[in-house]
């Protein structure tokens, strides 16, 4: 961006690049976005008029039986991979800063792969839940669950797109150490998306 137009002449007031301050500012704002979504989930918790429910089985008045919706093992795997991807993106950034093209491309690829797996896991999970009787409008649990995890998933998808764009840059040799801030911004965003999931996972899946 244009930060360098000024940076070429004088230092910034904080010594940090404008873009770095901007991404932190944006993340601060995003905290309120997810805080509101998570609050909405908690406010609506236990207020569904009909099942299926997250943790308990449910039999409809018509006699149809529904198992508890959540399946913890799969989402735990997705969570673990998402957490590892935060480590991978740090290694990729280190590679970018050192000018190690191999480390950059390899670790960034691993990060993207984890992100793709997580997003895929969520697509599978959503379809699976719908098959088991939880549509978006079935009950308040369905609406608030799909809204919260859906917006997190959208953030993951945007992160994957961003990282993949940088990965193509790296393959074309257009991500030299001097431009490693491009990756650092995406990495900060990626860590944030991870941290949000660290809150969502226990609040939504684990706490009964």
């Amino acid at each position: 961006m244009t930060a360098h137009a000024h940076a070429a002449h004088l230092e910034t007031s904080t010594g940090l690049d404008n873009r770095k301050v901007a991404i932190w500012t944006f993340i601060g704002s995003e905290c309120m976005f997810f805080a509101t979504l998570i609050s909405n989930y908690l406010v609506n918790k236990g207020k569904s008029l009909v099942g299926p429910f997250p943790h308990e089985p449910w039999t409809s008045p018509a006699g149809q039986h529904f198992e508890p919706i959540f399946e913890i093992p799969l989402v735990t795997l997705g969570t673990a991979l998402l957490l590892f991807s935060s480590l991978f993106v740090v290694l990729a950034l280190s590679g970018a800063q050192r000018g190690s093209r191999k480390a950059l491309i390899g670790w960034l690829g691993a990060t993207i792969a984890c992100g793709v797996f997580f997003a895929g896991m969520q697509v599978y999970e959503f379809t699976h839940f719908v098959h088991r009787g939880l549509g978006f409008t079935t009950n308040l649990f369905g609406s608030s669950f799909y809204t919260l995890t859906g917006f997190h998933g959208t953030h993951v998808a945007i992160g994957v797109l961003w990282l993949a764009t940088l990965w193509v840059d790296a393959l074309r040799g257009k991500l030299p150490p001097a431009k490693s801030l491009n990756l650092e911004m995406a990495a900060l965003y990626w860590h944030f998306v991870d941290v949000v999931w660290i809150i969502i996972f226990p609040v939504v899946y684990l706490i009964q």
């Binding site: 002449h9 901007a22 509101t36 207020k47």
Partner: protein, 612 residues
């Protein structure tokens, strides 16, 4: 470094001269031009909101009037409120952010010039989208805070609420992008020596406003998303029959809505804090107290939202908490008012137009503040809620506060922005007409409100004691309209005058007065070094007299960002995305995907475009 190249004629100079023509405005990334665009657009929306208000006042001028149908009345009061808040006062503040923040902190532009252009285009398109609802005869009609269940598909099946919720969503994007930009600009692009506690008070209040925007807007974003899901996809977040809770909307809306009122007033606080010292010939009294009271107001602003909801019956504990936090806000606000008065105390006051508006601001804002403290008591509030007393209160703070403050700023910075001085006599006439018209319109509302006249009802029966007061209010609203007519005449007359305003017509204290009027594209030929508060007064003190008129220099060799149209393309992509989403049932998912593709194209072209 810059000065050496400045005097030499350079082949490159033309690139930094005044660019003209429509295309130069469409592709501009200059914060000053974007500021002018914001101001002009917002002023047109302001006039539209004013005309809506006049129509409402005509309807209420006599009992059982049939000038407006109840349905049209609902649309007009909703659009009046929505327009004045989101399309007039907020973007008028954004005009001052844009134009002044870089000048006052000694920078050549904002941190992200293209993002700045993007904010403006999204704001413009969002405002047009919202007003396009009139063309469909389906303007929003549920009130500016859009309470559930009025907004549910069941009770509002038409497009009215769709226009409102998507329009606000679009405008929110503009506000958030601008907030990130100004926050980074103030934090990171101050001239050497401009420490935080040396910043002009307008910059401080702007910084606080950006923080409020950043933290409050995501909440309304989520609330609007939930509403959209309820209306478009059939969820039941705010629908009791599906287990949802209409009160959740009120909480989410006011967690945003209360900080929003400080978003509306803090920039005016900043403007007045610039104007009063200059026309009192005295530094601002209690600078640090002014800074911290601003911070304290913003902090408390997140803890008072439920005072908008006393009538919902939250119980004694919640009522007590929110009553106390609300009363607490009177303390930092009182500190500010005493400091403004302290600034004037013992000064050599010059009653020029900006000063008159600033003093009018203090007086009117005190009245609005006092009625606000009255609302903070739940038993009193239960009598006042949803009556014209509340309408009187928030017009005293929003019009008597924000609009008086913004008008003071307009007169004060007009010569800087356009190189021409507004006519002083017409300015004084504008002030007195506005002060009289404003009080005629809104003061009687206190009385009719306490007598029980409900707001948002299109008429009232004869003989309830409302008739005379309403006649006075309607007459007053036309005096107000006349005041703004005088302002328009002043603007048109001034436009035809030569551009001969000096750089520093008011003997100003801040850096924007150190450079020619209007400023060159690059603002400062040489980035200034700041040695204290009131940087320009400090320079004058050191010199022992007025500074010489700054020369216009070519600016060759100063590196400025390139113009770009990708922010506009991206903004159009966002508008198309929301429009196609609204028409999803009619035109299908592919139109939404195509709009999204346009949005992505804009983002990628923008990201890979050399910034200059």
């Amino acid at each position: 470094m810059a000065t050496r190249v400045l005097d030499q004629p350079h082949a490159h100079a033309a690139a930094h001269g005044e660019k003209t023509g429509l295309w130069s405005w469409i592709t501009t990334v200059d914060h000053k031009r974007i500021g002018v665009l914001y101001g002009a657009t917002a002023f047109i929306f302001f006039l539209m909101g004013g005309i809506e208000a006049l129509l409402l006042r005509i309807q209420l001028g006599s009992p059982e009037n049939t000038f407006l149908s109840p349905d049209l009345y609902n649309q007009l009061f909703t659009m009046h409120g929505t327009t004045m808040i989101f399309l007039a006062v907020m973007p008028l503040s954004a005009m001052f952010f844009n134009y002044l923040i870089p000048l006052q902190i000694g920078a050549r532009d904002v941190a992200f010039p293209r993002l700045n252009a993007f904010s403006y285009w999204v704001f413009l398109l969002g405002g047009l989208f919202l007003n396009a609802s009139f063309l469909f005869g389906a303007a929003p009609d549920q009130g500016w805070f859009g309470y559930a269940n009025l907004t549910s598909k069941q009770y509002s099946p038409g497009l009215n609420v769709d226009f409102w919720m998507l329009g606000l969503q679009i405008l929110g994007i503009a506000s958030l992008a601008a907030a990130v930009n100004f926050f980074v600009t103030i934090v990171n692009m101050r001239a050497p020596g401009m420490t935080l506690m040396r910043m002009p008070m307008f910059v401080w209040m702007s910084l606080i406003t950006q923080v409020l925007l950043l933290l409050a807007f995501p909440v309304i974003t989520v609330a609007l998303i939930l509403l959209m899901y309820d209306r478009f996809f059939g969820s039941a977040f705010f629908v009791p029959s599906g287990g949802g809770d209409p009160l959740l909307w009120q909480h989410l809306f006011w967690i945003f809505g209360h900080p929003e009122v400080y978003i509306l007033i803090l920039p005016a606080f900043g403007i007045v804090s610039e104007v009063l010292p200059v026309f009192s010939r005295k530094p601002l009294f209690g600078y640090a107290a002014m800074v911290f009271s601003g911070v304290f107001i913003a902090f408390l602003g997140f803890g008072v939202w439920s005072h908008h909801m006393f009538s919902t019956g939250m119980g004694p504990l919640a009522d007590t908490f929110f009553a106390l936090t609300t009363m607490l806000i009177a303390i930092p606000t009182g500190v500010k008012i005493f400091n403004w008065i302290g600034t004037m105390w013992g000064g050599s006051l010059q009653y020029r137009t900006p000063m008159l508006f600033a003093i009018g601001f203090i007086a009117m804002f005190i009245i609005g503040g006092l009625s606000g403290v009255m609302h903070s008591s739940p038993p009193a509030d239960l009598q006042q809620t949803d009556t014209y007393f509340v309408v009187a209160h928030f017009h005293y703070v929003l019009f008597g506060g924000s609009i008086f403050g913004l008008t003071a700023g307009a007169y004060y910075w007009w010569p800087k922005m356009f190189g021409r001085m507004l006519n002083e006599r017409l300015g004084q006439l504008h002030f007195w007409l506005m002060l009289i018209g404003f009080n005629l319109t809104f003061f009687p509302m206190h009385f009719v409100g306490l007598h029980g006249m409900p707001r948002r009802v299109y008429t009232y029966p004869e003989g309830l004691g409302f008739d005379l007061m309403n006649q006075i209010e309607t007459a007053g609203s036309f005096v107000l309209a006349l005041a703004f007519l005088v302002f328009l005449v002043n603007i048109f007359q001034t436009w035809r005058k030569p551009r001969n305003a000096p750089a520093d017509p008011w003997n100003g204290a801040t850096l924007e007065w150190a450079i020619p009027s209007p400023p060159p594209e690059f603002n400062f030929a040489e980035i200034p070094t700041v040695h204290g508060r009131d940087a320009l007064w400090e320079q004058k003190r050191q010199r022992g007299g007025p500074l010489p008129e700054p020369a216009r220099v070519s600016g060759a060799g100063i590196h400025m960002p390139n113009p770009s149209y990708w922010p506009l393309v991206t903004a159009v992509g966002i508008l198309a995305f929301f429009v196609t989403l609204m028409m999803l049932a009619k035109i299908g998912i592919w139109a939404v995907i195509a709009s999204f593709a346009l949005l992505l194209l804009g983002v990628y072209k923008w990201a890979y475009e050399p910034a200059g």
